[in-house]
């Protein structure tokens, strides 16, 4: 995924939906990394985004099993991630220890929030200005 510059405008949204199967979390990581790199974020930020998206998808698949949507919206200065699960009525949430993942997200992105209805994890990443003379 490489986003042309004309798509990198404030208000643009990008979305991916994956089945509630941990095997697809890697796809969500690739999605996050591709967006981060297309905005020329430093690799350390891209790594943080991959980790937070991975933790969020894993947490939602355990606590509210159902398809998981990863939505990214660009504002003037930030990329905001909303990761939401649509729980399947027949699925049962696990009581497996999952809080560590939320703590990791909070440590990476201090504005991270988790809400139960709908099950959503939100965090945002600052967009850094390109150094002069690049691009």
């Amino acid at each position: 995924l490489a986003l042309p510059h004309h798509l990198q405008q404030p208000g643009e949204r990008f979305a991916l939906e994956i089945p509630p199967d941990p095997a697809f979390i890697g796809t969500a990581r690739l999605f996050a990394a591709s967006i981060g790199r297309s905005f020329r974020l430093p690799e350390t930020s891209v790594d943080d985004m991959k980790l937070a998206v991975s933790e969020a998808c894993g947490y939602l698949m355990v606590t509210a099993p159902g398809p998981v949507a990863v939505q990214v919206e660009q504002s003037a200065a930030r990329l905001t991630f909303n990761i939401t699960s649509t729980p399947s009525p027949a699925a049962e949430a696990s009581d497996h220890e999952t809080l560590l993942g939320l703590e990791v997200i909070g440590a990476l992105f201090p504005d991270a929030q988790s809400t139960p209805d709908p099950p959503t994890i939100t965090f945002s990443v600052p967009l850094e200005k390109e150094p002069p003379g690049t691009g």
Binding site: L51, S54, G58, L100, E103, V104
Partner: protein, 78 residues
């Protein structure tokens, strides 16, 4: 790792230098292995020098739980 433990190894070193990504699920596996080994008076050491894997170990405080070394020779004391 579980195979090693079941085969009688009590001192295990996991070289993570080639691992590009790990989340809390991977940490859970390592913690589970560490717990089993310590029940048998063994230990699990990690080889990890930099990058995202060391970062999550630090973020979660597990860098104070696992012995972390720069290379396998240091971890094994050879």
């Amino acid at each position: 790792v579980l195979d090693l433990i079941q085969n009688g190894s009590h001192q295990v070193v996991v070289d993570l230098r080639g691992v590009e990504f790990m989340d809390s699920t991977g940490l859970g596996v390592l913690v589970g292995a560490l717990k089993r080994l310590r029940e048998q008076e063994g230990d699990l050491a990690l080889v990890c020098t930099e990058g995202p894997v060391l970062k999550i170990l630090t973020l979660t405080g597990l860098d104070r739980v696992f012995p972390i070394h720069r290379d396998v020779a240091e971890a094994t004391g050879s």
